[in-house]
Symmetry: C2
Subunit: 378 residues, 2 copies
């Protein structure tokens, strides 16, 4: 802990073992390797790079040699060295605030205002009517509308010389307002990507590490195959990304920087993972989440003029509901704080719950009790 | 150390004091405040953002309100919300490998290959003939050639609707081959920026923290006034940037992310700064550097057919020399390693020295002795 080593250049002799016993022990099914990074933004940006490298290799029939023109042009920021590839992201999505990740973020204007960007495609993400059971047909149509638009945009950008190398998406659009997509939507998204030749990156920076009751939120989707890249940070303490073998860069030094993450954070993660297992915290999060979800749903049924759209069923404690307007939402958050409960807001109307994995049923009951008081007093 | 806090949202109660006694105690003259970040790339990128915000405010006569059109357009990555502003950087410069910092990096093709970029201006940086004393007139002309090109490029990009909000430059182009600019060049660069309305960011990620014998390399330049922004990382253990008061963002949450650096690294820095002062390490670096520089210069005079262009006079131990070709350079680095001395290469021909601040005269003499052996055995 009393140093900041450059892991890429001088990895400690225990580095492999530490990675194996931590990050590799929870690698999502179907993925091959992991790269550590410092934060969520640069985890995503390096995942983006991996997709661009993969796309170029495919475009050139597997040839990964550089031409003289590649080398000269890239030093001047020009194609073919710096290609005009793009990534498709979603309205309401958030992937970070460094320049590259910011191109794909569309949740708040204040994040993007005044900063140069690139013309990359942005698709609509499904916005469901709740409760889901009563709106099956409409929500299915919403999935199809969004998927059709994704395909249309990829076709359009491919045609105009800005081919879409990959799709980047959160399993739950968290900053954008805890917007959930159905399993069918995500399977459809993967299918469209495969059909159009675009990779799929799932950004688990906010959802990864257990809050949905599984280590990775996308496990809930039961996708036909693994996404190509999964990124993480936050709860994982270290940033980084997992990828399939064919997404490992074809040359050394292409996914690289001075620090390559921070071994100290991986040491913390080792212990965190041990505690998650020892105390069965994923199961705890699932059980606690079910109580929270049911409790909030009951409040919604009692106070439909104040809150609605409770969501996050079977997603552990990763639960949100809407105030009927921003003012009501803000009042709920503020009044809860005065009662000693801290919750956050996201999007325009959402109250989002993000308790730690050690949040237990008894805590959930206290939260529900105080939330009821707050809503009654509105 | 056993946590990774979100400093921006929940700063510790000791945070202000820790910053005051560390980063603020060594703030470059003429600068006003500091922002911590995780790494060098995101320190630069957030410095870039600060310049873009400043430029927009000036362009709009100090009005920092957002128009409806700003808000709508920025969510789609389009102007005026996401303006077509640019930054001028230098051929051979390096500022990081996240997407934004990479646009301004031009030292190695492998860094940029296959990654989409933007058309931002790249100017030539002076390449001097050594020894400097024997090439005064030519090198002065080289300064003027590069400064003229900087001005020309800014004019050209301003005219074509991609105004140059700022100039970004390292005090020594380190990754590019330890390329030094004269004090006159840097003063001229600042003057051109002021004339054209572009800000000046000096990237001290590699030079900052003492290796040039002063805390900040740009102090050597005796600029008429402070640069607008100074970025740091590496030796400073924490990333971040200093800026003038008018470069603080005009609204909250515009320079922001989850972690905002890492308090653990600032705690390390506090002790590092104490030791630098206690052991007089800046003075040590200056004295040791003078010995190294003189010694290498003597070797150059004895073996001009093998090495040349010794540089870094009065720059502490931040010293480099060239092999006559890449093969000779690589052999020197490799053979030194076999004699227990680790040095690095940068650019095409340079051997660069980057000892720690505790490298003392007696170490310098050992290095010089082994370097002489290696050169004699070539």
């Amino acid at each position: 802990f009393v140093n900041r080593p450059s892991i890429g250049t001088f990895p400690g002799s225990d580095w492999t073992e530490r990675i194996q016993s931590s990050l590799m022990s929870i690698i999502p099914k179907g993925l091959h390797s992991v790269t550590t990074m410092a934060c969520g933004s640069c985890s995503n940006e390096n995942g983006y790079k991996a997709m661009f490298f993969w796309y170029r290799a495919r475009e050139r029939g597997g040839n990964v040699d550089f031409t003289e023109e590649d080398i000269t042009s890239c030093m001047m920021n020009k194609p073919p060295g710096c290609p005009t590839y793009t990534l498709l992201s979603f309205d309401g999505g958030f992937h970070g605030r460094t320049f590259g990740s910011l191109i794909t973020s569309h949740s708040k204007a204040i994040h993007k205002m005044g900063i140069p960007s690139l013309d990359w495609p942005m698709a609509p993400f499904p916005h469901y009517k709740y409760p889901l059971e009563s709106n099956v047909r409409e929500n299915k149509a919403e999935d199809q509308r969004c998927l059709a638009r994704v395909e249309e945009l990829i076709e359009q950008y491919n045609k105009k010389g800005s081919p879409v190398a990959g799709i980047v998406v959160e399993p739950i659009l968290a900053e954008g307002g805890d917007i959930h997509g159905s399993n069918e939507f995500f399977a459809g998204l993967q299918a469209v990507g495969k059909k159009m030749g675009s990779a799929l990156l799932i950004d688990e920076v906010q959802t990864g590490g257990g809050p949905t009751g599984r280590m990775w939120c996308h496990e809930h989707f039961d996708l036909p195959e693994a996404p190509d890249i999964v990124t993480f940070s936050k709860k994982m303490l270290t940033g980084g990304f997992y990828c399939k073998e064919e997404f490992r860069p074809p040359h050394g030094s292409r996914i690289f920087n001075t620090w390559m993450g921070d071994p100290g954070k991986v040491i913390l993660l080792q212990t965190v993972l041990k505690v998650i297992q020892r105390d069965n915290l994923l199961q705890n999060t699932k059980v606690t989440g079910d109580i929270l979800y049911q409790g909030i749903l009951e409040l919604e049924n009692r106070f439909p003029h104040l809150i609605n759209s409770t969501r996050g069923k079977d997603r552990g404690t990763f639960i949100a509901f809407n105030g009927v307007d921003s003012k009501t939402r803000d009042a709920i958050i503020n009044n809860l704080k005065h009662k000693g409960v801290q919750v956050g807001g996201c999007g325009d109307y959402a109250v989002r719950l993000r308790p730690a994995l050690i949040f237990q049923p008894r805590h959930a009951h206290i939260l529900l009790d105080r939330l009821q008081q707050v809503i009654q007093e509105l």
